[in-house]
Amino acid sequence: MLITSNVSQKAVNTSTVVETSYKSTGQITSTDIEGLNERGREEETTQTKPNKDTSQSISPVENAKGDEFSSKYISHSSSLLIKEIVTLLQSWEKNGTVNSILEISNIKDKLDTFITYLHEEPTNRILVSLIILIFKNNNWAEMKPNQIRQVWQEIKRFENGYISQDEVKHFSQQLFRNNISVAPGKSDD
């Protein structure tokens, strides 16, 4: 499947970039963060190459349009994604941010890939976009273990693939209550 092979390729690219950076310093540095962001920008640019015939770029949405995914498929895929992200987050909590650059990078990859075929279903799209908010800026670098735990415990609720409006609202409110990512300023100790 095309999507699977793209994910595998991205994972290979990610590990090469991240492992080189991690091994050299053993500490998370601004270079690591910049590298992740830079790699993300390069891949997004690749995905959104301008169409020669029009002035607008082709987004992954445009690429995915016309593919109709059944709600069962989306539910099943959502379930798999959530389980994988929860596992990565649990590993991140256990090992600390410095030792989890690969896990964090994999989470970003999965979100980027998954959003491409969630665009039709608003509730799933909003949930994934809320998680993207945590990982698309640099707030993830300052997350404390209790906050990481809070995030995976909340995301775990969606593991069965059933994503309801009320539960997504609750998720948004729990991020807010626990000062996770979307507001500026320092988090509580």
Binding site: P60, I126, L130, I132, R177
Partner: protein
Amino acid sequence: MTKKRKKKKPLIKRDKYLLDTSLQIERLYAQDTEKEVRRLIQRGDIYSSYFVLYEFKAGLIQHIIEFYFVVKVSQDISLAKAYWANNFSQRGSKYIHILESLIFKNLDSISTKDTYTYLLVIEATIYHMLCNFYTDLKGLVGQFKDLEVSNFNLDSSDNYADFMALCERNKFVKLKVFFERNMDSLKKLIENEDLENATKYKKIYNGLVEIQNNLNKADTHNISKAVGDAVIAIDTPSDYTIAGLDASFNLLCKCINKTFIALPHSKEITGLRKSVAQAWKQEVAQKKL
């Protein structure tokens, strides 16, 4: 043998606080303001009003959705921002800065060429703002339960176009019926000399006088927009304390025998102003040396 009756514990009456619009907006992006709200929750129950919800949606949310469409149409984030800066009011620009303070910690984090992701992030942020308007609130109160804008369901970008059309049809709240029901409060506000003479309340006071002279004026755009704070004060039930950042409520509440508690603006944000001024002065001094 007689059974002992269990003594019922007396119900502890908790204070009720009504969060005004400025507070509901600032708590979203300033953590120390949210901490102040949490302190209130320790003392009592927090509420807001349907009218505050209207101002929140018709003000902040509407502007951000409009910006969403500008980005979507232009497919160029920097062009959209330049257009926004040139064509919208100061308040409109302020709302987009609030949006970005919620999205970005580091401006370099999202490529300005990636409009697709930027639009997703705006959508998620709007959703996050709307959800967290209600966080920890016991409920909404007031006489404006039927406002269409307040009740409109904005769960995703699928509804944005309909919401904008609704806002276009409802550019202001008609207040004639409200003031007919609250003539006593209107009279008290107008008869207060402090309110009449205070420069910072001029717009509100003049608007109220116009309404008293001709009730139909309450159904006009400019007057309705001018007296918003007075409406919140009058609309708040008398056993509630209004909690806000705007000191103008102090006098308004005093006139109509209601209570107000002023919470401080975010120190992190206000303190930054001082730090910036100090920083450039130090640089200038160092260069002279």
